[in-house]
Amino acid sequence: MPESSLVKDICSSSVECRTSPLRQFSQSPLPLHRKPYMLSTFCTENNVQECLSHISQEVSSLGLPPVWTESGSSEMNVVAVLNCMYDLIQLHHRGLRTLENMEVEQLKSSSNVNFLQLTSTRLKEQLEQSKRENMGLLERERQLQLKVKSLQNCLKNEKEEVQKLQNIISSRASQYNHEMKRKEREFNKLKERLNQLLVDKKEKKQAIDVLNSIGRADGKRSLWKTEKTEAKHEGEMYKTLLSDYDTRQRELLLENAELKKVLQQMKKDIVSILSSRKPLLKGDKHQDDGIQADSEEEEEVFDSSKERVELYCVHAREKLTNSIRLQWRRLKSHVERLDSQASLAQMGESKNTDAVSRETHEEEMDRLKLEIQQCKDFIQTQQQLLQQQLSSPCDEETVSLLSDCYMLQEKERLREEWKTLEEQRKIFERERKNFTEAAIRLSHERKAFEEDRATWLKHQFLNLSPFADSKKPPMSKSKSAFLISETKVSAGSAPENLTRCPSNTTSSTPRCVPLTSPSTADLHRTLCLIQENSSTKPKRKAEHAGESSFFFNGNVPVQHKEWNDSEDHSRHTLTKEKNSSI
């Protein structure tokens, strides 16, 4: 506000300045302006000349070209007069305009003055107010100063008081201590006296009444107190102290050794790390050569100190610790550099992956939380049930609930068992299939054998006839043993053989019948047969071990599972394997 007013002031003043010559100028035309009304009195017929001269004078004084020249004709130069008049009118107009301007200016300035007056009064008020405030503040300051003074006085008083009290306390403490000491002395004196009195007193003396004295715990007799025993006590005391120090020293030695080992290990590690870093450094052009030289030097120091570590000399120790310190520093800087590099690298790449992982983490967390909640609920219900059962063993509801719970558990267990049984059944079934297959094969073989036998018998039969000798050679050699025994028997009783032969053939025919569905007895027999066969098998198996192992690789877990089952089960699997190897 004050600024703007100032600007206005300046503005108005400038206007004033500008108008001041105009005002002077305009003062003269004012009477001129009124003159036309008094024109009648100004010029008459008689004084035209004078008027003319007067006007011309006036006109010239106004700086206009003369209207009329005396030297020329007495007639008025109309053009000049008109020009003059025009000029005058112009002048008049200009005068009027300036007047208007002036009036406006005046109005403005008057309003300005008003405004300034207002502001000045306001400022005056403000001044007054601030003066009042100042007075108030001064008053308050004075009061505060008074207060401070009083408080300082108080403080001083308090300090004095404190000092006094401290003095009192200390004096009291000393007095108290003194009193206490006095009391204690008195007390001691009294004690002494009491002691004396009690000792002197005859009627109720302290006494020991023992039936018969007992031996010492260690079985020894007590010794007289002599200087020797005293020396012995001292010796024993020092012995215990020494042994304590000894054990302590041993412990420290052990600890030291342990720490030294750690130090060595650390040193080795550091050196290995640093040395592995070295080729890298060499490739790295940024590194100063000076540092490298330094590291080499350090290693030298280390190597030399390593030999001397075992000697517990101060020098070596110092060197060792120094080298460790140096290397440690270097390692630290190296690690720090690596860290910064790693962080830089991470900043670039791991931002998005991290975000993804976090999301998955959150998901996982949510899932786990849910699971935990479920588990909690489950546990709570379980606990409730358990507690109820514990607290109320005769409550039927809870019992039923609990039994339900147990039933559930039992059911679950049974279901599991069922599953395992089912699996076992499947396995059995598979085996059974294998067996039947084997049995079929066997029966086929038997059939072939039977046929063989039939042909052989035929031959035999034919041999009995005198003209069949030439047909012997085509018999296979493997059957010769059987053949011989049979021949013996047959030689002994040919008619019997004859009767047996058909019976054999009859027995073979029903054996051909159960080919499709072998009886259990048959199965057993086949089993036995297979087992007999198996006794010859291992060799072959061993031969094929290379291949079979490759083959088994895929089956290993299954095999293990089956092995874990019952014993006959495993036997079955064995045969099964053999079957598969056939």
């Binding site: 006494a207 039936l211 007992i214 025993t229 005391m237 909690k376 607290s391 109320s392 409550d395």
Partner: protein
Amino acid sequence: MNFSEVFKQSNQLCKVSPDGKYLATCVQYRLVVRDVSTLQILQLYTCLDQISHMDWASDSLFILCAMYKRGLVQVWSLEQPDWHCKIDEGSIGLLSSRWSPDGRHVLNTTEFHLRITVWSLCTKAVSYIKYPKACQKGIDFSRDGCYMALAERRDCKDYVSVFVCDDWHLLRHFETETQDLAGLEWSPNGCVLAVWDSCLEYKVLLYSLDGRLLSTYSAYEWSLGIKSVTWCPSSQFLAIGSYDEKVRILNHITWKKVTQFEHPATINNTKAVVYKEVERRPAVGSDDLSLHNITIGTTLFNTQSKYEICPLPVQLPVVKPDPDRANPKIGVSTLAFSSDSRYLATKNDNMASVVWVWDMQKMSLEAVLEQTSAVRCFQWDPQRPRLALCTGNTKLYLWSPAGCVSVQVPTEGGFQVQSLNWHCSGDSLILLGKEQLCLCYMDTDQEDKFFRTSVQVAGMFLF
């Protein structure tokens, strides 16, 4: 866990012999000795008056019974029931009585701490030690029984005398730099003597066996100082509990503070497990108002309790002590190391229902047990890191690193466990009620299982 039947007892005088074979209990003026395994009464002795103190000799052959009011001490022999010994302190009065470590001498402190009378059962000889100081713990025997340290007061100064227990030869006598000596204790290896000042000044002095001052430790000045001091069984640490609710641990090499354990009201330490005892009033639910409630009515009075593991942070109940009263109930008053020196159990008096267990290897808080009532007594198993505690109710509480469990003492008529003592084998516990006692047998093979299940139970509340 099995419990024996309840036996009578008075003055809470019940002790197992040092060899662990016998259990001696006092009932009024009778002393009963039982076999610990069968609880059959082996001997019964009758004293002249109500027994106020009873103690076993170190060889478990003799028992001392003191009748302080009468100034009498009677000693009984287990081997020879006819043998008797009566020590009469006469009109000088008797304040306390104890065995010497060899079990052949009785040390009687007379009234006003006038002197300590040493009675020999071998020679009937009597000797006096004058100027014993009346303080918290003015007498201590080294663990091997060789030396006795005794606090003395002469000419308003504190002294310590070291005696050889063998023949009561004064080995060392030195003045201590204390204002008012409050207690002394030998290190378990018997080579260092810790001496501490009264609570007005925090000061611990450590003296070698030969009287040299090894070190002085003071944590702070002006405010109330030491409340309790305990050596670690390995002599490696000295734990000092003080009125500022802290335990400071000094090491045995430099005698400087290794660490300090604070007892804050709020536990934020994530490594510590806070077990809170939760009382469970049986059968007040909606459906429990049925008939069976009456059948289990007997247990209605015995509220069951269990431990819950509290999620951190935990706010513990704190009682603000009255500042105008002497011996304010604040600060660590009880300290106990486990037998393997692995754990330290502490109790802060303004949190009377809380027991703190600290791990001395990690030097950190291991567990906090918040009970429903103030803890009366706790003691470590002498064989295993297992802490037993009681709070004056019908339950026994056990803590081990595996977990925490509360066991109801199954006796009729509300047996309230006021105090407890471990048998030296750690297989059984003696629970002392107001006028009864009961033995609690730990099944050693079942115990592991037992704790495991308790952990499982506690673990359920983790969720």
